[in-house]
């Protein structure tokens, strides 16, 4: 199936992945040395992150979800979670939270092997996930540091109202920015913010181009397993920087080249030769067995052509771009527009649009035990999407970073059956067309 199928130790990576790895490592190093260098640290969440704003105050940015994700990929999250459960946290709640708290209890060592310093500020952007609010209350309880709360109202009726936008902007003006000024000791410069937002918009254009390249046959990218890499810089500590603009430029060139050559996505075992099935996937991936999970797809020639998870840190493919001419309003619209801040009907519409635009053969839900924001309602979404598109839908259950909830054999069995079902349905469709 793969042209460069090699030993799994010899993992194939795109240039952009190597570049991104260097950016992430540099950020962890910057976090490790921030206090020695007199810099302040802000922790904040991925959805609704205000990276451009934090950069105006020279904060080094720490993202607890990314730390948990990294711990998951490095097989450390299981121990962290059990540590948190031993100290009284329920087995029922989000494992990102418990991985983060467990990491703190076990010496707060970051993925670079160096201690992560205590943040100076928790910027709690409460966007699309109730757990965020409790998570930072819990972290605040440990660190005893200042917290700036930004309440982002939920788009329950599928639209951003003037009241919602005004509320977010007023909080930024009245509470968030003054707190950032106080903690950092740096005065807010709106022109600096505009500059960062200008850079963000450039990178967003290229990201959207890359994600939409999956409309081609074969798709030159995998928009879920590969997609999480592509979204990494723009969803985290890098949006608004020149290096991110450059990263997305180089990623686009890379994908343009693959597209011109008619190549499929790069997998850890090389380029996928034959695209047999095209899927749209809803829900986050599992991180503890990321590569095994991905292999279950590419071994069967399955390519994910669109996913909702790559919209969790911002929905850009329906036209939104950060707008330097309206800096605070655009931050509000960005926060309000993140995927899990959309109502279920909006999410269904979005996914049906993907099924159509990306010519998908099926729709798969990876339901995550930890994440009710995504998961509650997914079974109804699945039925709606199946009914509206007439394409077969599949359902698997895993978790973000709790290895106890990833049952390889179960997931593989379910996926294989699902892929067979799609192929049979496709074959029947082709027979009918031929007849």
């Amino acid at each position: 199936m793969n042209t460069a199928a090699t030993d799994t130790e010899d993992v194939q990576k795109e240039e952009s992945m190597i570049l991104q790895k260097a950016m992430i490592s540099a950020n962890y190093d910057a976090l490790s040395t921030a206090h020695e260098e007199g810099k302040k640290i802000s922790s904040t969440f991925v959805p609704g992150n205000l990276n451009e704003l934090l950069m105006c105050f020279d904060f080094v940015r720490n993202l607890p979800e990314i730390n948990a994700l990294q711990a998951g990929m490095r097989k450390k999250s299981g121990g962290y979670i059990m540590e948190a459960e031993r100290s009284g946290h329920s087995e029922d709640v989000c494992t990102y939270v418990k991985s983060d708290l467990g990491m703190m209890s076990k010496g707060q060592v970051g993925p670079n092997g160096k201690p992560l310093p205590t943040p100076d500020l928790l910027l709690l952007s409460y966007t699309g996930c109730f757990t965020f609010m409790k998570w930072f209350e819990l972290v605040r309880d440990q660190y005893d540091c200042e917290t700036a709360m930004l309440h982002v109202p939920y788009q329950a009726d599928g639209k951003i109202t003037e009241n919602m936008r005004h509320f977010v902007v007023t909080q930024l003006k009245e509470h968030v920015i003054p707190t950032l000024e106080r903690v950092s000791g740096i005065k807010f410069d709106i022109d600096r913010l505009r500059e960062y937002l200008r850079e963000s918009a450039k990178a967003e254009d290229d990201l959207v181009w890359v994600l939409q390249s999956a409309k081609n046959r074969p798709s030159p990218i995998d928009a879920y397993f590969g997609g999480v890499y592509y979204c990494g810089p723009i969803f985290t500590a890098f949006r608004g920087t020149r290096e991110t603009t450059d990263y997305y430029k180089s990623l686009r060139v890379e994908v343009e080249d693959r597209l011109a050559k008619g190549l499929g996505p790069v997998t850890p075992e090389g380029t996928l030769d034959e695209e047999r099935i095209r899927l749209v996937v809803e829900g986050p991936p599992n991180w503890t067995h990321f590569r095994d999970f991905w292999k279950m797809f590419y071994d069967e020639g399955v390519v994910v052509v669109a996913s909702s998870y790559t919209k969790v840190g911002g929905v850009y493919d329906f036209g939104f771009r950060h707008d330097p001419d309206n800096p605070l309003e655009t931050l509000a619209d960005y926060c309000l527009g993140c995927y899990t801040n959309h109502s279920l009907p909006s999410r269904v519409d979005m996914l049906c649009n993907y099924m159509d635009e990306y010519q998908a053969d099926g729709f798969l839900v990876n339901s995550i035990k930890s994440c009710n924001s995504f998961s509650a309602g997914q079974l109804l979404m699945l039925r709606e999407i199946e009914e509206r598109t007439g394409k077969p839908a599949g359902f698997i259950e895993t978790d973000l970073v709790d290895p106890r909830y990833f049952s390889s054999a179960n997931v593989k069995n379910r996926l294989e059956s699902y892929f067979q079902m799609i192929e049979q349905k496709k074959a029947r469709g082709q027979d009918r067309t031929a007849a």
Binding site: H166, T170, G377
Partner: protein
């Protein structure tokens, strides 16, 4: 009414999963409408001022056989949304003309979207409340949200909601809150006279009855309870916490009391106790409701606590005010707000030397023996410490 009659009346309302009393109210006058709401808090005054009946939808409890509801949810999601869906798909909620989903957690939030998808002919609104408690910021946002809700409810009902009507509704709900405060104060003073299962049933009745009728019922209950003398038991005094959304089976409350604990404060049916003081009945009613929310509403797991120092203070104050000797955390399985909050609340109690115990339940939990044993052991340990 005699005490037994009042309790029996409330028990009948509680047992009736077909909402017969609501149907009777609706059918009594042509054109009447009913709006349901999930826990924890919605401004019921607005529904009332539109001439409609607010009805608390609190899941199916332990008597409903959930057949369809489970097909909508994964095993790791709490019980209340699945039994609520069950009530709806089996036609029991057909009496409702609309449904409000308050800002409680991601599950209830997403349930609002499920309702939009599944029941497209029904009025559905998500009621977002501010987590920013600055009057000029969160308060202003909430006032404008209330205005939108007022407009929407007026359209649904066909009745304009005037300031006068809304102030009159606020006055009725103030009376109701005062009556409930009186009931709670009475229970705290003499818990043997006011068993919590009875308080619970009375509060549940308030989720179905018109507000003035419920207020009268509470007054009648207090008068009837005062007229009888019930035996004083050697129970300890506890506050129960975590019951704000998914409802405990009645057997759970009975088990806690049978195990030797008088419940002297709780957090169920918070919608009826959310505002801690009277809301002014003159001036701009929306602004008054909004200010009441910002300035004097309860603390619960669904709300952000702006400072580390304030975390748990509300619970500690409740313990002190009611002279409770301990706290029982009774949280629904898979309830994110309650379970994420619990370690912080426990820590706050520890700093004050207040003992606690914790367990989980589901609305359909049938086996109460483990809970009775745990509550009993907790009661014994409190008594032993007190003796020491």
């Amino acid at each position: 009414m005699a005490l037994e009659e009042i309790v029996e009346h409330c028990q009948n309302l509680y047992d009736d999963l077909d909402f017969s009393s609501v149907n009777r109210w609706k059918n009594a006058v042509s054109g009447r409408k009913v709006v349901g709401h999930m826990p924890v808090y919605v401004p019921r005054e607005l529904i009332h001022a539109a001439g409609m009946l607010p009805v608390g939808i609190l899941g199916g409890g332990d008597q409903l056989d959930v057949i369809h509801g489970d097909a909508y949810y994964q095993s790791y999601i709490c019980r209340i949304p699945r039994s609520t869906i069950e009530l709806a798909v089996t036609g029991r909620l057909d009496v409702l003309d609309g449904m409000l989903f308050p800002s409680t957690c991601d599950v209830i939030r997403n349930l609002s979207g499920m309702w939009q998808l599944k029941f497209q002919d029904k009025f559905v609104r998500y009621v977002d409340v501010p987590q920013d408690f600055d009057l000029d910021v969160g308060g202003a946002f909430y006032t404008r949200e209330l205005q939108q809700l007022r407009d929407d409810l007026a359209e649904l009902s066909g009745n304009e909601i005037t300031d006068e009507a809304l102030n009159a509704s606020i006055a009725l709900y103030n009376e109701n809150r005062r009556a409930i405060s009186e009931l709670y104060a009475y229970r705290s003073a003499q818990p043997w006279q006011v068993p919590t299962p009875e308080v619970y049933l009375l509060m549940r009745a308030g989720m179905l009855l018109p507000v003035d009728e419920h207020t009268s019922l509470i007054h009648d209950y207090i008068a009837a309870a005062q007229a009888v003398k019930r035996p004083v038991r050697d129970n300890c005094r506890v506050v129960v916490n975590g019951l704000f959304c998914e409802q405990p089976p009645l057997g759970l409350l009975k088990s806690i009391e049978m195990a030797g604990c008088y419940i002297v404060d709780d957090d169920f049916m918070l919608v009826a106790r959310w505002l801690l003081k009277d809301v002014p009945t003159t001036g701009d009613p929306l602004r008054n409701l909004s200010h009441a929310f910002i300035n004097y509403s309860v603390e619960t797991s669904c709300k952000y606590v702006p400072t580390r120092e304030a975390k748990g203070k509300f619970l500690i104050d409740s313990v002190r005010k009611t002279h409770a000797e301990g706290v029982i955390f009774s949280s629904p399985s898979f309830c994110d707000p309650a379970l994420l909050d619990r370690p912080m609340l426990q820590k706050a109690l520890t700093t004050q030397g207040i003992p606690y115990t914790a367990f989980k339940f589901a609305e359909n939990s049938g086996q109460m023996q483990p809970i009775r044993e745990q509550a009993g052991t907790f009661a014994d340990s409190i008594k032993l410490w007190s003796a020491a």
